[in-house]
Amino acid sequence: MIKTMINTNETEWSRWVINAEKHPDKDAIVHWVAGEEPFRWTFSSIIKAAESFAVGLKKRGVQKGDVCATVMRHNKYFYPIYLGISSIGAIPAVLAYPNPRLHPDKFRQGIEGMSKRSGLDWILTERPIADIIEPLVTEDNSTIRGIFFPLEWEKDLKFEGKELELIEQIRASVSDTDPVLLQHSSGTTGLQKPVLLSHKAVLDHVANYGKAINLTSEDKIISWLPLYHDMGLIAAFHLPLAFGIPTVQINTFEWIMIPSLLLEAISKEKGTLTWLPNFAYNILADKVHEDELEGISLESMRMFINCSEPVRNKSHKLFYKRYKDYGVKPESLCACYAMAETTFAVTQTPPDTEAKVLWVKRQSIAKGVIELNGHDENSRVCVSSGKTIEGCEVRILDENGNDLEEGMVGEVVISSVSLFDGYRNYPEKTAAALKDGWFYSGDYGFCLDDEYYIIGRKKDIIIVAGNNVYPEDVEDLVSHVEGVIPGRVVAFGEDDEDLGSEQISVAAETKITDKEEHKKLIMDIIKAGMSDDINIKKVYLVPPRWLIKSSAGKPSRKANKERLVVKKENIKWS
């Protein structure tokens, strides 16, 4: 077992430097690109490169406490840039590089909204999107002070003379309670909630989580997860860097096009750990050609950890059936419950043990009580997300805030040594979610035999391939489409069994009755979604006053989904 107790007032930078001294030639980050030889950063070479970027940042006026947002594609220099930001006491925030389908105005508005909330000071990006971002710097009331293109900077700079003395003073002044990173919770770009985490929160968390997964110096992480997501950033980046173990970073967009890349990397690098959202198990089980598996061995894997969307037993079974002959062991199929607000993990199933599965009577869940049901077809299959990790406490509360016993369904409420202090510059959201040191997750779940099962959401969030989409955002977009009656739209998630995830559906009222014009309207609605990088999979057009309202006077997502998806009601156009 690796040392998991942290020193008092230790910062992440000091931990990384110690790791570079202890294991100078050990792989730290293996940068994976399809069809190329991977680039390997060692623990010493990445610190040296980070120092060079730190010199560049200081020269350009970046100060301790400044928030530096990175908006970059998969690039081997991304990692030392990130470390370089941290090394001068500034705060890195990883943002997603815009997808080509995202309209530039939407992207700019998203960054603008985020900058006002998160207080972004500097943007570190690439030349191709400079024109989109630059107007934000000159705008009145903008927090953004400048844009940098660090990939174009010199790569072998060092602090010398007075600059060296100064940077040493700055590093010594950084406390373990100072912020080390800014990550964003779920939501579309402009509405994401910023979560600021301290060195202590992150180091405590990786120590506690490291224990939960029995992390050893022999472990190697393989990941295609984006680093703007807490699962990628904490589990597959901060965790290995803090513990001094290697991580292999695959390009997210290449992985979704060539899912076998993950298997190739595991096989060649002898990976032991990976974190995957549920849909990835289906993609890997169904969408990989047999000939791409020639010579692949997955025997080295200790844990495939399912996290960030509801865990489906069927997905685990499909994955195991496909890969058992390649060395996947049933006990390697694990699960975790995590969120940005608690740094990352809250619960984890034990290593070397397959995640527990319960068959629960559907009617009993509706009543809020768990009654097991053997393997009956009418059961809801619930997969355990495991026990609380050290440093975390979980309660299940009823709607009046009373604690519920085991086997009762309620809201999952969490306390953690790595809990955030609140959403940055968002007091109203903080007050709603954080009460007396407990984070109200908005997830519904239950506890049985000390293991936690997450079964739903209090709010109508749609989880598409691990990404949370707020229906309000989709409804707002669609409401602006010509031909749609404003405000008379509902968006909801529809289960996609093949994908092992949800897809976005929309029901919109329109006065148009002509069938040909309906086709055009459907296309316009889908295109409206595309402009905000939201893929609307299905559109239901309905006549005026068709959508049922909730008691709050707005069209009800739940009731209308029930009519369209479950009852499949006929829609009559007069």
Binding site: A34, G35, P100, M257, E292
Partner: protein
């Protein structure tokens, strides 16, 4: 040159009635062709033409015309 059969396979897979697809059309311009559906489109094309692509070959396609050319070259190799 995009063939009618090739276009129809793509449109059917994406549940689109019609959409103008030219050689220089890129996947992100086609409604529904997002990263999640990309692999389904590729598998549908492979099945319709009874060909098999290597992942890296598809990754190198800059537009839909290049994917059509890849199909053509696979068919010629048969």
């Amino acid at each position: 040159m995009i063939t009618e059969k090739f276009k129809k396979v793509i449109l059917d897979e994406l549940n689109l009635e019609d959409f103008d697809i030219q050689d220089d059309t890129t996947a992100d311009q086609v409604p529904g062709w997002d990263s999640l559906n990309h692999i389904n489109v590729i598998l549908a094309v492979e099945k319709a033409f009874n060909v098999h692509f290597k992942g890296i070959e598809v990754l190198k396609c800059q537009n839909i015309g290049a994917l059509q050319n890849l199909v053509n070259s696979k068919l010629e190799q048969k």
